[in-house]
Symmetry: C2
Subunit: 336 residues, 2 copies
């Protein structure tokens, strides 16, 4: 099995070119048409072997898929349609060429679902496998979804269940946890971890509900829940200078959680697990209700933006006392 | 002196925000306006400590400057004006915060000369310091400079002297080489290595000579000489399906080379040294002569595109025999 050091960086780049559209590579930079009157939206992520992915829980295909999905999710969270990504790769010489090709295969599988090309990149020697992705998208300047524009009275919509990705990771790390789950339940949770879906599909539905062409003051705020649901809501509230009340029993959980986890663990996974890559959107109640109806599949209104300075989680069934969420709790719940 | 591990990735990101325009950061992605009818041009580079920069020869300020300059040079080589860069940073916990701030300081010094903002990025934990830069720019779709469009009969223009950056590196690595150079000569060469200038200044001059608005068939081909002058000419010839004749005595060298280096070493530095970040442009003779006159300072016509399949270097003074250049020679001359 050839290693990177056997074929060299140039040889590897040539092999990886089949993952890129031939018309945009092979020069000093890639060239891409953008549409008039569109804003460019750019996001970047660095992933390091042993820190952000692991040979234990992640195949190269899944590492590639997840890296692409995370960046596309950032674009979705801004309201942007993807134009392309660049891939910077640092590799030790002893990595096998097929590992790198599988990584690209996984990235491409995710990207192709969203018609997004790889616009070339860079491959260099490094003592640790490192993946740096930059994603580009475009959005109408009036259609950009920011964190800072949540309004008091807005409904807080999440586009799907939370906690599934973290549960899938736990199943991979601790196989004995699988005992109380059916094969289908296991597979759903593991797939949520390995192959998360960026919610670009939400955008056309959203623009239709909010009426296109949009007004200059888009009545929406939002971000994705890649760092956890609690983090997303706290970030939006901080950026918008508002608070929120969340209803515990409105947060959609994977069905298996109800018989598999204690309510405390289920709540912890849902609020702090992260990497579900759903969107957290704040908008007026009427379009929020329509959005949830049209999305189906775990989408829900989970609370309301308030003029308080706190993010308060309450449980109408009184299983839990009210609790105030803040940005540092995610780290506390899963401290290393 | 605080280390990265003392303030954490979040703390570091907050400190680095002062290098970014506040209106484009703090959300899932950066947003940027582009002009109607422009193409987006994207390039990415990964730099790894110990492979691409070294604490011995490179201060963090210079590492930052050089990384920014390399990416801006790729944009210049495509004919594009920079819009911004993103910076992905992998850092061991024991790196000092001030090292990172100096790196950003150097990047910013270079970028500010070309009115280019840092549009955020990512900071993560890594066992090795890694810098992943993605630069994007815009160009009129008819003004993109490609490698593949050189025409037989074109003059080959280089925008400045070659070999200076490699000479500067040698002076830093082997201080005793400095003996035969004046302080001013040393400083010129070392600065060429530490603070190379991307040749974005060439573009407005070029467009004026070629008449703006341009025709759909821009009579130009080119790339930058970051991987060496010989590499650039071989790459252009290969992509365009042409050959070239180069005149050794037309290649502009730093003045000090004439009394400091043997002709053989001077030629080696100029052809294979790399990182001079000049542009290598192929265009018809008449605009080529005007371009060289207007650029001054080491710009020169060094040869002609031919219908041969070879890149031939000849010496009218017959100090050297004719030689055929090819893509693998750079590695042979400086094999590790």
């Amino acid at each position: 099995m050839p290693k990177v050091q056997d074929i060299g960086e140039q040889g590897l780049l040539e092999r990886l070119q089949r993952f890129c559209p031939p018309e945009v590579i092979g020069d000093d930079a890639a060239v891409l048409s953008t549409s008039p009157g569109q804003s460019l939206v750019v996001t970047t992520d660095v992933l390091v072997d042993g820190v952000h992915f692991s040979h234990v829980t992640t195949s190269p295909e899944d590492a590639g898929w997840r890296a692409a999905a995370a960046n596309l999710s950032d674009l979705a969270a801004m309201g942007a349609s993807p134009l392309g990504i660049t891939v910077g790769l640092g590799l030790p010489g002893e990595v096998s060429v097929s590992w790198v090709e599988c990584l690209y295969q996984g990235m491409t599988e995710c990207l192709q679902k969203y018609h997004t090309p790889i616009l070339g990149g860079d491959v260099v020697r490094s003592p640790v496998t490192t993946l740096a992705i930059t994603a580009f998208g475009q959005a109408h300047p009036h259609q950009i979804i920011r964190r800072s524009t949540a309004q008091v009275g807005d409904a807080i919509v999440i586009t799907g269940v939370h906690g599934a990705s973290h549960a899938g990771l736990q199943l991979l790390l601790h196989p004995k946890l699988q005992q109380n789950l059916t094969d289908a339940e296991q597979s759903t949770l593991i797939k949520a971890h390995q192959r998360p879906k960026p919610r670009l599909d939400v955008l056309p539905i959203l623009w239709q509900i909010l009426e296109y062409p949009p007004s200059p003051h888009l009545p929406i705020a939002g971000m994705d829940s890649s760092d956890g649901l609690a983090d997303a809501i706290c970030q939006i509230c901080r950026a918008s200078g508002v608070g929120a009340i969340l209803e515990f029993n409105q947060i959609p959980l994977p069905e298996s959680f109800h018989h598999w986890l204690t309510p405390e663990t289920a709540l912890k996974y849902a609020l702090y697990g992260g990497e579900d890559f759903e969107l957290v959107l704040c908008l007026p109640e009427s379009p929020a209700i329509t959005l949830v109806q049209q999305l189906g599949q775990g989408a829900a209104i989970i609370g309301t933006i308030t003029d308080s300075s706190q993010v308060l989680l309450r449980d109408r069934n009184k299983k839990f006392p009210d609790q105030v969420l803040n940005l540092s709790q995610g780290f506390q719940h899963f401290s290393q």
